[in-house]
């Protein structure tokens, strides 16, 4: 019997019990669909995470100032005024002492209300250099970025993030107009293109939002705002002195990232008695994310594998019933010359047809993952707006990514399940005594 005949025979035997076969197929279908969907969702989530980390730059090393914990010895600080964080000296030291650093950007930031006539925005005022835009892949939609001349001349110029510009200038063109920060006016020279949030860097920082930023030259920042910031907390004045909030160093080659991070760590440790900074290496984050992704996939495969196992048991159950029912047919075929091997093959093919059909249909349903997720998302947005608002961004933005390997694996596993769970019933069929089988009613 050739392959085509075997398959045809398998189909026809299964069609004798349509409902029973359909239920067995359904078991496998659900398993295969589960594999494909779960992997696609997992891939989608981790793709998002990786994209956010990649936005930080694979060759970057980010050093941030961190306010030391209360009980730390602040060395010269007092209860009402503390100085901590990265120093401008640190920036110079990094640039002069670490040869693998191609460029570095110092950054100072503070929350400030920015006003324009009756409009105001609680913005994040960022003091930086022109390189900051390039390193953070901030595109300028209109106007120009900050320039070296701005820095040299301590100019009061600003580049607005897209959303800030929209809220301060709902109607007018912001370019060339002035915005007010505290008592100082800044002339808007450029508007940044919209940009999605980058990954949270380190455990202590929230995802970096770019849509509330107002960029000014770091020299101007120092001159107008200074290092010391006063805040009123619990009725008492507090002041914090921070020279730099962040230094982003770009390494010349991705292979030098790990060693450079180590050098920076040692260098800073020599000058900082208190642990008032944190080093974030996006490449390490990426590697962590990669490990997470693998673990996630293994977990999902395990869950999906269990459902396939259940489907396989269903198939075995049905094949055992089939074999018992068709004892007479087995006896006839044996009498007419079929060997045990040929009987095994016949029933094995039947199981494989069963599980393979489930597998194919499961793959077809797997392709529906994207549209289904989109439909569910639109449904929630349209009919359950409150629930929609409470969903985390990861879920709201989730785009399942069909992984080709998961489709191949799911189908392969389903056929494999058919073979594994078909062998016992098939062998049971083949090992029947033909004389007994022929007498079977």
């Amino acid at each position: 019997m050739n392959l085509l005949q075997q398959l045809r025979l398998g189909f026809r035997s299964l069609l004798l019990h349509k409902l029973r076969s359909a239920l067995a197929v359904l078991g496998i279908l659900i398993g295969v669909t589960a594999v494909i969907w779960l992997v696609a969702m997992g891939e989608g989530v981790s793709f998002q995470a990786q994209q956010q980390i990649k936005d930080l730059g694979a060759t970057s090393i980010i050093v941030r100032s961190v306010k030391p914990t209360e009980d730390s010895d602040l060395g010269g600080g007092s209860r009402t005024g503390i100085a901590y964080g990265l120093l401008r000296e640190d920036y110079d030291r990094l640039l002069t002492n670490v040869p693998t650093i191609r460029e570095a950007v110092p950054m100072r930031e503070i929350s400030r209300e920015v006003r324009q006539r009756e409009f105001s925005v609680d913005a994040q005022l960022i003091g930086c250099t022109p390189t900051y835009f390039e390193i953070n892949r901030l595109a300028i939609a209109r106007g120009r970025p900050l320039s070296d001349t701005d820095l040299e001349r301590y100019d009061n110029v600003a580049v607005l993030a897209h959303e800030v510009a929209q809220r301060l200038f709902p109607i007018e063109d912001p370019l060339g107009r002035a915005v007010l920060v505290g008592d100082d006016f800044y002339v808007v020279v450029g508007i940044a293109a919209p940009r999605t949030a980058a990954a949270a860097i380190g455990g202590s920082f929230a995802a970096r939002q770019y849509d509330r930023d107002v960029y000014v030259p770091i020299s101007t920042f120092r001159a107008r705002i200074g290092d010391r910031v006063f805040t009123v907390r619990g009725g008492t004045f507090q002041n914090e002195t921070v020279e730099l909030n962040q230094i982003t160093a770009v390494v010349d080659d991705v292979r030098h990232v790990d060693s450079t991070a180590e050098i920076i760590r040692n260098l800073l440790a020599r000058y900082h008695k208190v642990n008032d900074y944190a080093i974030v290496v996006p490449k390490e984050l990426l590697e962590q994310a990669e490990t997470m992704r693998t673990m996630f996939n293994v977990l999902l495969l395990l869950i999906a594998g269990i459902s396939l196992l259940v489907g396989g048991i269903g198939i075995m159950n049905i094949m055992l019933a089939t074999v018992t029912e068709r004892t007479r047919e087995i006896g006839i075929r044996r009498a007419l010359g079929a060997t045990k091997g040929e009987i095994v093959r016949q029933f094995l093919w039947e199981t494989v047809v069963l599980s393979g059909t489930g597998g194919l249909l499961g793959v077809a349903c797997g392709f529906l993952c994207g549209p289904t997720v989109a439909a569910v998302r639109e449904g929630i947005r349209a009919f359950l707006p409150d629930m929609w608002a409470s969903l985390p961004a990861t879920i709201r933005q989730l785009e399942p990514l069909l992984a080709p390997w998961s489709i191949v694996a799911a189908f392969g596993i389903s056929v494999g399940v058919g073979i594994v769970f078909g062998i016992y019933p098939a062998r049971r069929a083949a090992n029947m005594d033909p004389i007994e089988a022929l007498r079977h009613e």
Binding site: M1, Q5, R12, S13, L16, R328, E329, G331, I332, R333, R334, A335, L336, G337, A338, T339, K340, G341, E342, P434, I435, L438
Partner: protein, 243 residues
């Protein structure tokens, strides 16, 4: 095919020599066959008779290579098949033997022509033009009009005709029939016996188990078994209904 397995007469297609079959029943050995020896010549038509428990079913199972004798020799198509393993026995059944059963034993989900084709599926190497052969055999047994029918759409006699066609498809050395008319009414029994007669006249060797004397009367020879032994072998001088 060693020398010891060669039969002396060239026209003997099957022969059992001193064959015994012992079953264990409740720890007690039971002799179902006890030293049976019969030769079947080319073109023979043998009816095996005997009361229930006489060993005729056991003998038919041995002749059909569905079972192996405890001792003795069974030479089929020139070789001793009594000690072959299961796979080799399957091949021998498919290649040299044709079966006709009392309850027809057609496969219900297959059509008439597909049922006739079943033995071809297990033939090594495959027979070219198998489908044409099946159509011709369906015509021979008078069923060319019902090729696409299922067994449950046929009468008992028609089903038995399908079974006979199926038994012939591999051109067997011996056609084994187990009570071929046992489930049929008298008129249909006569038709089926006429068909077997015709096949036999065309040279087919037929071994038939029956307990009906008038059916046995249509064979050339009648072997009577009693308690696992051959009680008598009688020639029917002029088989009834062959004139």
């Amino acid at each position: 095919m060693s020398d010891g397995t060669r039969t002396t007469a060239p026209d003997i297609v099957a022969s059992v020599r001193d064959v015994s079959k012992v079953y264990e029943l409740g720890g007690q050995p039971v002799k179902a066959l006890d030293g049976v020896s019969i030769d079947f010549r080319q073109g023979d038509f043998v009816a095996i008779m005997g009361s229930s428990g006489s060993g005729k079913s056991t003998l038919l199972n041995l002749l059909g290579c569905l079972d192996r004798p405890t001792s003795g020799q069974y030479v089929l198509a020139g070789r001793d098949v009594a000690r072959l393993d299961d796979e080799a026995l399957s091949r021998v059944r498919g290649r040299y033997l044709g079966f006709v059963f009392q309850s027809y034993n057609l496969i219900q989900q297959l059509t008439v022509v597909e049922n006739i084709e079943v033995p071809l599926a297990y033939r090594r190497p495959p027979l070219p033009g198998g489908r044409e052969l099946c159509l011709r055999l369906a015509r021979v047994v008078g069923l060319s009009g019902r090729l696409d029918h299922r067994p449950n759409q046929l009468s008992g006699g028609q089903q038995q005709r399908v079974a006979i066609a199926r038994a012939l498809v591999n051109n067997p050395h011996v056609l084994l029939a187990d009570e071929p008319t046992g489930n049929l009414d008298t008129a249909t029994s006569v038709e089926i016996m006429d068909l077997l007669d015709a096949l036999n006249r065309a040279g087919r060797t037929i071994v038939m188990v029956t307990h009906e004397p008038d059916i046995a009367a249509r064979a050339k020879r009648v072997v009577r078994l009693r308690d696992g032994r051959v009680a008598s072998i009688t020639e029917n001088p002029r088989p009834a209904g062959s004139g």
